[in-house]
Amino acid sequence: MEILIYGTVNSMALALMALGFALVYGISRVPNFAHGAIYVVSGFLTWTFLRVVGLNYFLSAVLAILVTGLIGALLYQFVLIRVRGMAISEIIASYAIGLAILEGLRWGGFRGMTYSLPVFVEDMVIIAGVPIDFHRLLLIAIGVAVIAVLWAFTHFTRLGLALRGMAQDERAALMLGIDSDRMALIATALGSMLAGLAAIVLLPLGNIVVEAGYNVLIMAIAVCIVGGLGSWMGAVLAAFLIGFAQILTVVYLGSHYQIVVALLAIIFTLILRPSGLFGRQKELEERV
């Protein structure tokens, strides 16, 4: 039961971390390596609105998500748009921006363990003999809600259908009058907002530290590679695979090996099926 409950929590946390990255790549084909930095920025923004400005928690979270969305849009409009289509340049540019943000925060004094966000609900419950706090239960609920909303958005709204169209075939989408740059900008903004939301849900379980940006990026990449770059449903499935594998590793081998699971997952996926579980990119090349 412990494995089931905490495996689900861990998987949902990984899914939240990775969804934004998967969304941006799936639509714009730009790997946003500033994803982890945006996650951390969202945490610090919420902290600032809550602790410094004195807004209530909900408003602070909403504002932080909106600002991270704006950061994502600006990142695309002023940096990524110029290098879009040049894979190496995309990686270098986005990683450099992420690095500058994270190290800038560290330089600016955002270090140590004094920055933290309160949990949403301060209580715990015992389910089948396993104690779990309400915040983790809320994390599962929010994760499910995000996946459902994302699915509905991409299936039933005009903008969502346009984004899907572009994800499926950019040239065909262009012929149908969909502005690919505008869609990529929206996707980057949405991906950043998802990173921001993930931070607000996950950071109350710990502290806001700059190093989290690097960890989140690694986990997002691992999930997306296993799930298949470009497939956000694949990312969700991969999050569950890695999430449960990590918990099983902790239970049967030890916490020490937890991080190895994600890294091994990347290596094995790249060796056995480079396109991932649901990735279509290079699938044809692989078959050839």
């Binding site: 946390a13 270090r111 530290v209 190093e211």
Partner: protein
């Protein structure tokens, strides 16, 4: 004419200012190189302790080197060795840069990570630089190496406690907890770094030998942010004490999760940098209450260990607008005074002469009587301040850091969280 007059006044003032400076500052300063991981408590605390001591000594005229007063100057380089993924070579480059570029006469402080400090010993031997470790490095291998290769490594000293001594203090504290609260099962949680792995292993063996049941050991990579499964393991195995060896800031997350899951085991940090700091209460929103942690030396938390303890504590608080936060503060402060005395006794900056003088150190400091073992160059520990360097274990109680061990300097008893009381 008016323009010339306005220029004349500053020139006169500057001339007066320079002529009025005490003659000590016309002498070449003695450079103290400080390789420290400055983004972490064990780095910035050490830097602040050192700077405070240097300012105090310089205000009194500096160091008397064979009749000539010389001021002290601290040069700090960030080694980043406490950060996850930063290779040891970074710290070694920092030490070498301090020696070659900054022309450090002595090294005080780090490197802070045991692995880096062990590797730096050969550099210090190569350049014959007297070094006093003041923070972070707890591995017993450090002073063991000095004893094994004395002639080559005699320049290396350590003025704070090491893992072996820490384990002795912790076991003595465990015994008190056992007697007062009837606890006898311990679960060990360790960060994957040399001093913590070693410390946890030794504590496990010693505890088992003294009748404690060790219900499990978990090792976490540096930077871990989720400890829930380990905590549940501790709960499942009915552990009553969580013995934590972690210097990463993320360890405060462990304490938050411990509170949120209401784990019925008393958290006891052998090294627990996060809980040492006054900011811990705010960082955990009070959820870290009842956490015990070893700040290694007295003076890093308020107590009356010696007449100098609170004098230092207050001076540090006044200078930095924050109390001494943990390991590295009082020891780095004292290291500068110990070095000053050794230089004055040696009457020279020559490394070999200073080593000889350092071996004869015997002074009452912030955390008790300070002497070095002449064979290992490790500061001699004790449970009584009159006999040697005393440690300090504190517990968070109602937002305050209360020293609970050793009894000779304790300011309150150990308390259990409400969900552990029968």
């Amino acid at each position: 004419m008016r323009k010339a007059f306005t220029l004349f006044i500053p020139v006169v003032l500057l001339t007066f200012l320079f002529s009025a400076v005490p003659c000590a500052f016309s002498q070449k300063p003695i450079i103290i190189g400080a390789p420290l991981s400055t983004a972490f408590l064990y780095g910035w605390g050490a830097q602040r302790g050192m700077v405070l001591a240097v300012e105090e000594i310089n205000a009194q005229g500096g160091v008397d080197v064979a009749g000539k007063k010389q001021p002290l100057k601290v040069e700090v380089i960030d080694t980043r060795d406490l950060e996850p993924g930063v290779p040891v070579s970074e710290a070694l480059m920092a030490v070498e840069k301090l020696i070659l570029e900054k022309k450090a006469d002595f090294i005080i402080g780090g490197p802070v990570r045991s692995e880096a400090a062990l590797a730096a010993m050969d550099l210090l031997a190569k350049y014959k630089k007297v070094s006093i470790l003041t923070t972070g490095v707890l591995t017993p291998r450090y002073h063991a190496r000095v004893a094994e290769e004395y002639d080559r490594l005699k320049y290396c000293f350590r003025i704070h406690g090491e893992a072996g001594q820490l384990v002795k203090e912790i076991m003595a504290c465990f015994k008190e907890i056992q007697e007062e609260h009837g606890l006898n099962k311990v679960f060990i949680m360790v960060q994957d770094v040399a001093h913590a792995r070693g410390g946890g292993e030794v504590l496990g063996k010693v505890a088992a030998g003294q009748g404690w049941t060790v219900t499990g050991t978990e090792i976490y990579p540096t930077g871990t942010t989720d400890f829930s499964m380990g905590l549940l393991k501790a709960r499942r195995t009915e552990a009553q004490i969580l013995n934590i060896w972690m210097d990463m800031p993320e360890s405060s997350i462990l304490l938050k999760q411990w509170y949120e899951l209401q784990i019925p085991a008393l958290p006891f940090g052998s090294t627990l940098a996060a809980a040492e700091q006054p900011g811990f209460w705010k960082a955990t929103e009070g959820k870290g209450e009842y956490t015990l942690c070893n700040v290694v030396n007295a003076g890093n938390a308020p107590s009356e260990a010696t007449p100098w303890t609170m004098k230092f504590y207050d001076a540090y608080t006044k200078r930095w607008n924050i109390e001494p936060e943990g390991l590295g503060c009082s020891s780095s402060y004292m290291a500068v005074y110990v070095l000053k005395e050794a230089i004055e006794r040696a009457g020279s900056l020559d490394s070999d002469k200073v080593v000889q003088a350092m071996e004869k150190t015997d002074m009452m400091g912030v955390y008790g009587r300070l002497r070095f073992d002449p064979k290992t160059h490790q500061v001699i520990p004790a449970l009584e301040p009159d006999e040697g360097a005393v440690g300090s274990i504190l517990q968070w109680q109602d937002g305050k850091r209360v020293v609970v061990f050793p009894k000779s300097i304790a300011t309150g008893p150990i308390q259990l969280p409400p969900w552990m009381k029968k």
